[in-house]
């Protein structure tokens, strides 16, 4: 048996948890390998050192004290129910102050707001969701629209010079699409 194999078995060997055959193989190896034998002795020394620690015992009135503590612990555990499930939360609210209501209602209000916003976007309600994009028009159409608008303005508020007549001609030459 190799050293690496023996070292893997040393914990079981120390605890006498190996089968008789394997234990004998380990023992034979330890007889001829000083390093593994030293390691095995170290493990046994550690166990012996630990087991030198005295066993402690609880105080004589341990159980009496526990009997006194248990009803208190049970009562406390009932006063602070786990807030799981609707019943737990309702119980929490029933016994609470306005601040508790706030702590519970604020997240609900935020959640409802988000829900309504998303719903509004889905329905396409005005003012909900991102602004709709302007229609894309060609440069010529844009210029024509601008000229039309300008001419219309000039017609309503004519200038004293000849430019008014020119603009009227422009207006006449551009028809809305």
């Amino acid at each position: 048996m190799r050293c690496s194999r023996v070292r893997k078995l040393l914990t079981d060997y120390t605890d006498e948890a190996l089968s008789i055959g394997v234990e004998e193989q380990v023992r034979q190896h330890l007889g001829g390998c000083r390093e593994c034998a030293a390691l095995a002795a170290d493990l046994q020394s550690a166990v012996a050192a630990l087991q030198s620690l005295p066993r402690l015992e609880t105080s004589p009135d341990f159980t009496r004290q526990l009997r006194r503590h248990l009803p208190v612990a049970v009562a406390l555990s009932r006063r602070a129910p786990a807030r799981t499930g609707l019943a737990g939360w309702l119980s929490y609210l029933r016994s609470g102050s306005p601040r508790r209501f706030g702590a519970v209602l604020a997240p609900i209000a935020v959640g409802l707001s988000v829900l309504l916003y998303v719903w509004g976007m889905h329905l396409g309600l005005p003012g909900v969701g991102p602004a709709t994009a302007e229609p894309v028009i060609s440069e010529d159409a844009y210029l024509a629209a601008m000229a039309r608008e300008h001419a219309s303005y000039a017609t309503k508020q004519p200038l004293a010079d000849s430019s008014a007549a020119i603009l009227r001609v422009t207006l006449a030459g551009t028809k809305a699409p």
Binding site: T11, A17, L43, L53, L56, F62, T63, L66, L70, A73
Partner: protein, 194 residues
């Protein structure tokens, strides 16, 4: 699971407090020793043990017998110890093997035993016991939990694996490392003072 444990647990579920006290009597010293050796504080150990049994009582109706009652109790004890360590860790002072040893008679200067021979023969001394306990506290929480459960409380590999929710191979590997670390640290201290 021992039949007696199972029967007692069933009676506990019917709010039979005497059945619970019978279980407490059966396991209180085991739990006390585990929490004392794991936490390194015999002063707090009794309070921690009370806490373990209170938590177990409050949760016993949820115990389905998926493991032994002892394993379940050790799971609770392990959680209680971990919680306590989290709370006190920031205030925890590193253990020094050079500081005086606390014994039942007060603090005494450490007397270094002659440990060049058989450690079992000198392990009787109170000073060495305190040294072993302090050295135990220098191990990581994971190694200490395994070595205390196995070498002091006699839990089997399978039970420790269930308590700590780790594979049996990991239990053995931690046990090996814990023993080697413990022995090396004790030896380096003794040789350093020799």
């Amino acid at each position: 699971m021992e039949v007696a444990d199972l029967l007692l647990v069933e009676r506990c579920k019917q709010d039979d407090i005497e059945a619970y006290e019978a279980l407490v009597d059966r396991y209180r010293n085991k739990i006390l020793n585990y929490v004392a050796r794991y936490s390194g504080s015999t002063a707090d150990a009794e309070d921690l043990t009370q806490e373990v049994f209170i938590k177990a009582y409050l949760a016993i109706k949820k115990f389905r017998g998926q493991c032994s009652f002892q394993t379940w109790l050790f799971q609770i004890a392990s959680n209680v110890c971990v919680d306590r360590f989290r709370r006190v860790r920031r205030d925890r002072v590193a253990y020094s093997l050079d500081e005086p040893v606390s014994t039942e008679d007060g603090e005494v200067e450490r007397e270094i035993p002659d440990w060049s021979g058989d450690p079992e023969s000198v392990a009787e001394s109170r000073e060495l016991q305190a040294l072993v306990q302090k050295t135990l506290m220098t191990l990581s929480d994971k190694l200490r939990a395994v070595i205390v459960m196995h070498d002091l409380e006699g839990l089997r590999y399978e039970e420790i694996a269930e308590v700590l929710q780790i594979p049996i191979g990991t239990v053995k590997s931690r046990l090996f490392n814990a023993r080697v670390e413990l022995r090396n640290r004790l030896r380096s201290y003794v040789e350093g003072r020799a």
